[in-house]
Symmetry: C2
Subunit: 215 residues, 2 copies
């Protein structure tokens, strides 16, 4: 089976092999797991034979690293783009915008980003070590945001809150079906719950529910 981006006819500019391999790898690693995916599987998906993969990547590990790196790049880019043009915002608006950016980046680039959530923990040590710097960088962006929003919290509390928030957002990859990709309502719910709490069932300013219920 061929990966179907730009492969329909020879007229559309075909995607480079290196990039195509990366795409099918992200897809397969996520769907079937890293170890369960053989290089023969990947080669088949990419329309070539196993041995040919080594012309583009030096090993299976390096291929996984490339997938995870790409995923982290998507996430960090989204965060930084969301950070622009938020100068006049309220604290909650700022939080909400970043939550939405995270969720959107997570789901719009699913094979790469969800792979990060799913595969990192069980990846070979060599792979994990290669990715840690990128991971740390992304975490530091969230830490800085939360410190800014919650200046009175201890750093331990900030860490816990960050992990809880990110954990809650990432848990959505298991079930949030973006069939028409509207993560907006869920972003609102998450941000609202994080900021105001679940017990305050909707009575805290219109901006919190602005896009939540559109009748």
């Amino acid at each position: 089976m061929f990966y179907s981006i730009g492969m329909s006819t020879a007229s559309t500019k075909p995607i480079g092999s290196r990039e195509r391999i990366l795409a099918v790898a992200a897809e397969r690693f996520l769907a079937a797991g890293y170890v369960e995916t053989s290089l023969r599987d990947l080669a088949s998906d990419a329309g070539m034979k196993a041995g040919s993969l080594y012309y583009h990547y030096p090993s299976k590990d390096h291929l996984l690293i490339a997938v995870l790196e790409r995923g982290m790049e998507f996430m960090a880019d989204a965060f930084e783009r969301a950070a622009e043009s938020l100068d006049g915002s309220t604290d909650f608006e700022m939080l909400r915008a970043h939550v939405e950016a995270h969720l959107r980046a997570l789901h719009d680039n699913r094979p790469y980003t969800a792979g990060h959530v799913t595969l990192f923990r069980t990846a070979p040590q060599f792979v994990r070590e290669s990715i840690v710097p990128l991971r740390d960088h992304y975490e530091s962006l969230w830490t800085a945001l939360l410190v800014r929003l919650l200046p009175e919290r201890s750093s331990k509390e900030i860490t816990m809150l960050r992990l809880g928030l990110v954990g809650a957002m990432n848990a959505s990859i298991d079930w949030l079906d973006t069939e028409r990709g509207d993560v907006g309502p869920f972003a609102n719910l998450i941000a609202e719950q994080f900021w105001f709490g679940a017990s305050s069932g909707g009575g805290h300013g219109d901006e919190a529910r602005a896009t939540k219920e559109k009748p």
Copy 2:
């Protein structure tokens, strides 16, 4: 290497082989992953040879099923024990008690329960299908609790809130080091944040912070 529960001398009643195999499997599966763990590894940890495992379990898959089942039993038991003796409690107290019960069960039986969090997603299909019923049952306990606490929420919102809350709690297995096992403060933080929101930095009733800061 031998698993060290009750194996010091022949005087202490030795743990049965079947149970010992289960314990080392939970440990190894969590630490190294399911596929990365060979039956030879498990046998070595359990003090026997690979072939002997088949006297106790019919396959590697069944061994993983047994580990995950045990984990779910721990979790469900803890939830139901927490549910007793909570009749006169406030809503928040009830939530907090269940959060603490979940976290305590999660960390006190770590190899089994964390295995559930880590291994389920990447487990062979046959394994996943076998434990889905147990998983559903545990999720239904939380759903029922949240419905009771938040009667005005839609069922979709309840689902999202449950997944967010459980996701946040489960994320703690990656970093919460229970070196002297005090999950209490973290349970407070999670419950507080979920119920009152992160922005309300401590000004909402003493019961919320009762055990949080003990000077």
